[in-house]
């Protein structure tokens, strides 16, 4: 059986390679791999060819709700951005803190963290606040290559940050562990690592811009924009979330997509300038298209890999690695799997890993937290490199992709060590989970 499954896996890899070679996009290459795997499986009737269309279509569904979150969140933040809200906040940060460099950097870090923390997607951070934050960082005299590196690492941490961490949610749902106890377990490492990253890259001023020039370089906030107008849509968003938490049995379940939609409508209503909502929404969906399509094809790939046994074989191979070696190899396995499969990796490798860790006495919740700060690193690795590509795009860095990636080595290393140590010493860190409850 191993041989047959191995053959199917090879077929999938070959299809992917050919598609990439033919200059097809990452999404289409993954689709090619999924279809090839399905056809390969059909030879062995695992699954039979008649079932293939059903498997392909069913595989489009695992991330449907995540796609709705991405879409509504990004449209919301696009409206906030277009109304001048983000510029207003970034200008404020520079005006108030330009001379207190550390504070300015930390405020900018928090601005990147928030959208990703709320949606579980680093890409949302980059798509909505990436451009103005990149401008602000450059105004602070940080070169473009370092700006790209900051955006990539901090956006990845944003995705891992509580309250919404999609890797942790997938693992919890798949292992029947409640999605609770992550607030400090993830929050503290994310803040420490984020602070380290932004100070490491940003503390040294390399350009020669003074405060007035920096403010002049930033796009102006539209007349009439004020703190209240920036705050209102976020108040609506958090208000709905918090209402659900405080009165869970008196409020209906709104769900993130509806909460973002309500916030978007508020942003539209309070905007000081007229927003072309439909045009903006349409452009946002166009920008999001590769990301949404990635969710679709990764789901399809996951479905085909499971139906054919490829997924089982891969998770078997991971589980039989000796423990110490396994801990060390997490540094490679986790980011690489994310680079190939994005969220599918959490389901394919993460679930059996967590069961295994749980069975040898590690604390599952802390181990999940540890793994889920490693996963975002993989979003900088090809073939998908979702967050890496976006970081380069948003920061307008002109060098090669590898020169950007090399720049991130130290935070990458520190995050890797932190994540692995969190897994290894998870039982000793269980107090973080108790604090969070």
């Amino acid at each position: 059986m191993t041989l047959q499954i191995g053959a199917i896996l090879l077929l999938m890899v070959a299809a992917y390679a050919v598609a990439s070679f033919k200059k097809l996009s990452v999404e289409l290459s993954i689709l090619a791999a999924a279809v090839a795997g399905g056809l390969g499986g059909a030879f062995l009737k695992t699954p039979p060819i008649a079932e293939l269309p059903r498997h392909l279509v069913e595989g489009m569904f695992p991330y449907l709700d995540v796609m709705l979150v991405f879409s509504t969140a990004t449209i919301f933040m696009a409206l906030v951005n277009e109304s001048g809200g983000v510029n207003y906040v970034v200008r404020g940060a520079i005006r108030l803190f330009y001379n207190v460099r550390v504070v300015a950097l930390l405020v900018l870090m928090i601005i990147i963290l928030i959208p990703g923390a709320l949606t579980g997607a680093g890409s949302v951070s980059l798509l909505v606040v990436g451009a103005p934050v990149a401008l602000a960082l450059k105004a602070l005299g940080i070169p473009e290559r370092k700006v790209a590196a900051i955006l990539f690492i901090v956006a990845g941490l944003a995705a891992a940050a509580p309250p919404v961490n999609i890797w942790a949610m997938i693992l919890c749902a798949g292992t029947a562990i409640p999605y609770v106890g992550f607030t400090y377990t993830l929050g503290i490492p994310v803040l420490i690592l984020g602070t380290f990253t932004i100070l490491w890259f940003g503390l040294k001023k390399e350009g020669g811009m003074d405060k007035a020039a920096a403010l002049a370089a930033l796009p102006p906030a539209p007349p009439g924009m004020n703190g209240w107008r920036v705050l209102m849509p976020f108040l609506v968003f958090f208000g709905l979330i918090i209402a659900n938490r405080i009165w869970p049995f008196a409020t209906p379940i709104f769900g993130l997509p509806l909460e973002f939609t309500a916030a978007a409508l508020t942003a539209w209503l309070v905007s000081p300038k007229r927003l072309h909502v439909l045009k903006l929404a349409r452009e946002t969906m166009q920008r999001l298209l590769p990301l949404l399509a990635t969710m679709i094809v990764v789901g399809m790939l996951q479905q085909i890999m499971t139906a054919t046994g490829v997924r089982g074989m891969i998770s078997y191979s991971v589980i039989i690695i000796p423990l110490v070696l396994l801990f060390i190899s997490l540094a490679v396995i986790i980011p690489v799997s994310e680079g190939v499969l994005t969220y599918g990796a959490a389901a394919i490798l993460g679930i059996p890993l967590i069961w295994f860790f749980d069975s040898i006495g590690l604390h599952a919740t802390v181990a999940i937290a540890g793994l889920s700060i490693l996963w975002p690193l993989g979003d900088g690795l090809p073939p998908t490199a979702l967050i890496g590509r976006l970081s380069v795009m948003v920061s307008e860095y002109k060098g090669t992709y590898w020169s950007f990636l090399r720049q991130t080595w130290l935070p990458w290393l520190v995050i890797t060590i932190t994540g692995i140590l969190m897994v290894v010493y998870s039982a000793k860190l269980a107090f973080l989970v108790r604090w969070s409850m």
């Binding site: 279509v57 209906p252 997509p257 509806l258 939609t261 969906m285």
Partner: protein, 51 residues
């Protein structure tokens, strides 16, 4: 079906319209045409209450 669930079908329908509109307007990229259709399939099946 309660009001919130109906709103979710409205949101889904809205996204289908935006994606469909982009599909019709696309003139340059065959890649984006295929990606658009890929994303549309599950959204349409949800609207039809198939899955």
């Amino acid at each position: 079906m309660n009001i919130i669930m109906i709103l979710y079908y409205v949101i889904t329908a809205g996204l289908v319209l935006l994606l469909g509109w982009n599909f019709l307007r696309e003139r340059k990229s065959a890649n984006d045409l295929i990606l658009g259709l890929l994303v549309l399939v599950p959204l349409v099946l949800r609207l039809l209450r198939v899955k």
